[in-house]
């Protein structure tokens, strides 16, 4: 098992090196640096993020904004615009597969997505209207909160839902899927739908404001609060993301905050890395990669906070 552990560390250390290198080059602001260095570095960093994101069990979008926003020379407005598109493209690419397999439920996703999409527009407007330093500070706080959530959160594979609530019953929020691990057919239903919908309103604001993929929040709400099986929660979270990030992305696009020069290398790098990460899923030690990603996020979150406080500009 030495090689998989070594491979996980190598990917994480390479990501850290790219971040530190980008930070050093960016803070130096050498006008002689050719422009193509940055999209290339971005592609490489996103490729590494894509590799580690899958085994770490978080979306690449969650890594993108804190890391690129903290260590690359782009303004946070453009990083958030690109972050939304990275999360959107990943969710759109995975969505059809998840929907076909039954691991995602459109019926469960839609009521939550309508509220979160509407609130994500408000979040995006708010984020673009706020001073960059305030957004940077809040982002640092959010990233550190995500780290805490990753450390303490537990998952329930098949939560017990004895009786659906009235809204869940009316909307028929239930379904079946075949669990690939056991080959069994699992039927599920959800409860506490109004509370879940209220939380998705808040999640939408955060997604729009920070351009950060919200899978880290979607999955616990769907799984631990509403009682969807963890695989259905993860799959449905992707479909919700594909709808929520669409709305927020339009706000950034209309403001001129989406630059293809930043978005395209990020999307392509992340998707290529995620394909490698998915293949390495059974080889890499997920616990090692997860610890490493927590370390990188801790570093990026602290860096964002210190940048906002002008302690580490």
């Amino acid at each position: 098992m030495g090689q998989p552990r070594w491979a996980g560390w190598a990917a994480g250390c390479a990501l850290m090196l790219v971040c530190v290198g980008a930070q050093a080059a960016g803070s130096g602001v050498d006008p002689g640096t050719p422009w193509w260095v940055w999209p290339l570095a971005l592609f490489f960093a996103c490729f590494l993020m894509g590799i580690v994101a899958v085994p770490a069990g978080i979306g690449g979008g969650t890594l993108f904004v804190p890391i690129v926003g903290s260590f690359f020379p782009f303004h946070l407005d453009f990083v958030r615009g690109a972050g939304l598109l990275v999360a959107l493209a990943s969710a759109l690419a995975a969505g059809p597969v998840l929907l076909r397999s039954g691991l995602a439920s459109l019926r469960l996703a839609l009521p939550l997505a309508v509220l979160a999409s509407a609130s994500s527009i408000g979040g995006a407007l708010l984020g673009l209207a706020m001073p960059a330093r305030l957004v940077q500070g809040l982002l640092g706080g959010l990233v550190l909160a995500i780290v805490a959530l990753m450390l303490v959160s537990r998952k329930s594979e098949f939560p017990q839902v004895d009786k659906p609530d009235a809204l869940s019953h009316a909307l028929r929020l239930h379904g079946v899927f075949v669990d690939g691990a056991t080959g069994r057919t699992v039927s599920w239903q959800v409860h506490r739908t109004p509370a879940g919908m209220a939380l998705f309103l808040g999640i939408g604001v955060l997604a729009g404001m920070f351009g950060i993929g919200a899978g880290w929040a979607n999955v616990p709400v769907l799984n631990l609060l509403m009682g969807a099986p963890v695989k259905v929660a993860a799959g449905t979270s992707g479909v919700v993301l594909s709808l929520v990030d669409s709305s927020a992305a339009w706000v950034y696009l209309n403001q001129g905050a989406v630059l293809p020069m930043i978005a395209v290398p990020s999307i392509v790098g992340m998707m290529a890395g995620a394909r490698i990460g998915a293949r390495l899923l059974n080889v890499l030690r997920a616990s090692v990669v997860r610890r490493l990603v927590i370390g990188v996020l801790l570093f990026a979150g602290t860096r964002a906070l210190l940048k906002a406080l002008a302690i580490w500009p």
Partner: protein, 143 residues
């Protein structure tokens, strides 16, 4: 939660979900292909750009409002009239990705209504309206 060994039979709701998945799949790949082709045109310099990469690199550290003013970049849908420029053409693929859920959702409305599932039909319509309102450019913010 209930488990059993029987196979999953696709019911009518699954059919709607499968239809949505099929449409979304096609539009996503069209959007990604457009995105990559337009980016290749941009960085290769085959097509003229409104903002050449060298100049962009001097300005991407500015807040978006200042960037738009300094580079005289379009906001709202004005970029569409400049889509023949390499840098603006990249936004076509991005617009396809950001808007592809709308036709997929609208395609489901008639089938949900035919089945009498008005709640799902309304939810599809509501989500499509939210994305269209966001895309309209009618709502905006500023520093």
């Amino acid at each position: 939660m209930n488990t059993s060994a029987q196979a999953v039979r696709p019911d009518e709701q699954d059919a709607a979900q499968l239809r949505y998945a099929g449409l979304l799949d096609r539009l996503t790949w069209i959007g990604l292909a457009l995105l990559i082709c337009s980016f290749a045109l941009y960085v290769s310099g085959w097509l003229p750009s409104r903002l050449p990469p060298q100049r962009l690199a001097e300005l991407w550290g500015l807040p978006v409002s200042e960037f738009v003013a300094r580079a005289d970049m379009p906001t709202g849908w004005a970029w569409l009239g400049m889509a023949h420029r390499a840098d603006m053409s990249g936004l076509v693929g991005i617009a396809v990705l950001a808007g592809c859920s709308v036709p997929c959702l609208l395609a489901l409305v008639p089938s949900y209504l035919r089945r009498g599932d008005r709640a799902m039909a309304w939810l599809c319509l509501a989500e499509a309206v939210v994305v269209v309102v966001a895309a309209s450019g009618l709502i905006h913010a500023g520093h």
